[in-house]
Amino acid sequence: MAVDISIRITGQAGQGIQSISSIMGKVFTRQGYYVFIIQDAESRIRGGHNFDQVRIKDKPVLAIHAQANYLICLDGKTVEQDLPVLTPNGVMIYDGSQTRFESDNPNHFSIPLEQIALEAGQKKIMVNAVATGAAFALMGFDLRPLLDRLAEEFAGKGQEIAAHNQSSASAGYRYVRENFRGRAADQIPPGVFAKQKLLINGSQAMALGAICAGLKFYSGYPMSPSTPIMEFVAAAAQDHHIICEPAEDEIAAVNMVIGAGFAGVRAMTATSGGGFCLMTEALGLAGMTETPLVIVVAQRPGPSTGLPTRTEQGDLRFAMHAAHGEFPRAVLAPGHAAQAFYLMARAFNLAERYQTPVIVLGDQHLNDSYCTVDELDLNRMTIDRGKVVFDDQIASVKDYKRYVWQESGISPRILPGLSEAVVYADSDEHTDAGHITESSEVRNQMVRKRMRKLAGMRQEMGSPEIYPSQRAALVLLGWGSLYGAMKEAVELLQQDGIPAQMCHFSQIYPFTAQAFHRKILKKSRILAVENNYSGQFADFFTQETGRAVCHKILKYDGRPFAPREIVDQVKEKM
């Protein structure tokens, strides 16, 4: 039996929604399922109306379902708000004593969550554990894996808290068994316990990828949705000999990272659009001084403060063109967490090999969403530091010139203080020795030297991922976090008798010199799918390939695409 169950947990900020979703995510991942979790939160600390949606599937999944099979309402005030997303025979769990909402639908289960929480868990906050236990009973799933996970999750917070969570979950489970026997709807069959797969979100995967790729210095200023990257690095810093320095602002953060990069360590910062605005001055500095720099920009809807906790792909053109003047850079945009992990290593390799900035674009949907990943293979990570010259490789350092002319544009890089050489780096136009110059001849040569790196990068930018491989008359074109939704959309289209292919870019700029387009462009109708207003990538694609897209399917309400939404719009445009 194919399993594809979505559970929406709703309530106020501070009610432990994310704690339930991540616990469920881990339980089902360990039982052999694939899980995808989105977080839909308002920009506030307490109150409001938030939800997480957990999708559990027997096959890999990287997108949300527009509907939910289960609705778990932790808060009485907003019971009716999410009812429209419930499937026709979907199950709702709510606390009838906390709301005036009444229902004679046999699939709407009123459970005294608060009363049970106070009795079994001593605290009102245990409502989330009670509801989870109740949901497990309704899903027909064994309670044991949940109890084990609760013990593990709260181990660090003391025996008592773990025990209260367990007794609350058990009480919720028992209440359903005793009161609603035989009335459960969509069931989740038992799995087989295995502890191999990972449950990880985009931010964690980026931070983990960076650390495994040799990150030594991080500086940042908190900004949603990038902050979890910094928090992950900070937590790992002591064990893995990393310095994580909280900066006074994003300008300081990126300049500290450039200082560390000049010294010769792998260094990065992460921010969102507004913080990246402040960093643009330094982006040019890294380009001019030829200092490796990695910046993660986790996009959120702008302009200005925009929708701070929601998602958008509105900063692609900004990332491609940010800062004054012309200099080479690379822009990467991973499609999912596993790709984010590996692309971080690629970002550092590119930054060091080409001695220039690399921007990795995420967004709230990619960064905050959890997914089950089969494996992250450390042996697949390669480290390439480019033309860094270490002590033992230096013959004569007396006349070292930091910016000596090379056909590739890449000059050997000596790290200051590690040899007797002295290194001059300058933000002014400079001679090959790094001193300020006004010479038109030198200026021309230095501009050419820097820009030649772009040609080198273009040659090694990877091809887009084409899925499935069978040629189709319809191509969905997209980039970054659209990966999961587009991939599933082409599968759904296939099922509906409309053959389609996905063409997904994760290595965006400079546009790849690989000959992929001959394969997919011939005769196909191209529909661009993007989480922005103007179809920023589609226009860039047209500029680079000469191929126009037939339609743009765009969404800019701050919410991610569900695959079915794409399918519906494709059918509309056909």
Binding site: A236, A237, A260
Partner: protein, 285 residues
């Protein structure tokens, strides 16, 4: 034996004849020789302006970055390779205007950097506009009726921020300045040396003569730079008499000393091994 000759740079100097910067360069070189630092052991991070050209004119590692952004670059460099002796250098516009926020937080961090601010109370390279330290009433192209606001007091701000080494030098007192720079570099922590530097092209008020008539060294023995209240008072002295010397000094842990990651080895000397992180992955299983 390190000699002055080792610091000789062949980059032609682009300062105005008679500029106070020449004396500061001389004092800096002399201090480095006295400390027996080798050029490759030193890194100077500078901003944009006339003062930030200084590192081009002596042989040492140099990062000539952006206007106002010297201190964060210097902090990143120092944390990545704390074996380097790191200095930051810029003018009053660079450090106290554009970089004001970084200045405050560098002092708070107590990162082990010596910060030389060439303070000429005017913007030079942009050819004569008011600066954060311009005196009230100072007439420039951007304040044709005279600056309506009082100058900021960097020393007072530094004492308030508990900057661990606060000093003022004068370009016209080279030996005194040499000694201050030497002490600043030796000091473990953030050392601010605000240097009164006459601008011969755009400041006709605060000239060499104007300063010479006013500056006096705070007396050794009679003044205790460890006394913060005394430092507050001394830092406010300006006008008829202007104190030079170490105004405030306090030992407190440097930022580098507080990072366990570099307790045994600088970051830049630590090897990269991507296979060394299985524990991190397990946490997600």
């Amino acid at each position: 034996m390190v000699t002055l000759q080792e610091f000789a740079s062949d980059d032609p100097i682009a300062w105005c004849p008679g500029c106070g910067n020449f004396s500061i360069l001389k004092a800096l070189k002399q201090a480095l020789v006295e400390l027996q630092k080798k050029p490759h052991e030193i890194a100077i991070v500078s901003g944009i302006g006339q003062a930030p050209k200084t590192p081009h004119y002596l042989r040492c590692n140099t990062f000539n970055g952006l206007h106002g952004r010297t201190l964060p670059v210097a902090a990143g460099l120092k944390l990545a390779n704390h074996e380097l002796t790191v200095l930051a250098e810029g003018g009053d516009g660079d450090g106290y205007g554009e970089g004001g926020n970084h200045f405050i937080h560098a002092m708070r961090r107590n990162i082990d950097i010596t910060y030389l601010v060439h303070n000429n109370q005017v913007y030079g390279l942009t050819k004569g506009q008011t600066s954060p330290t311009s005196e009230s009433g100072f007439i420039t192209k951007t304040t044709p009726s005279g600056s309506p606001v009082p100058p900021m007091n960097p020393l007072l701000l530094a004492v308030a921020c508990d900057c661990s080494f606060v000093a003022r030098g004068f370009a016209g007192a080279i030996e005194h300045l040499t000694d201050l720079i030497r002490q600043g570099i030796r000091h473990r922590g953030f050392a601010l040396i605000d240097i009164l530097q006459p601008c011969v092209s755009f400041n006709r008020v605060n000239t060499f003569q104007w300063y010479e008539e006013r500056v006096y060294p705070v007396g050794e023995g009679e003044y205790d730079p460890g006394d913060r209240t005394a430092a507050f008072n001394r830092a406010q002295e300006w006008g008829e008499r202007i104190p030079i010397g170490i105004i405030y000094r306090r030992e407190r842990p440097t930022l580098s000393a507080q990072h366990a990651a570099i307790a045994r080895q600088s970051l830049v000397r630590q090897p990269i091994d991507p296979t060394g992180f299985p524990g991190l992955l397990e946490a997600f299983q």
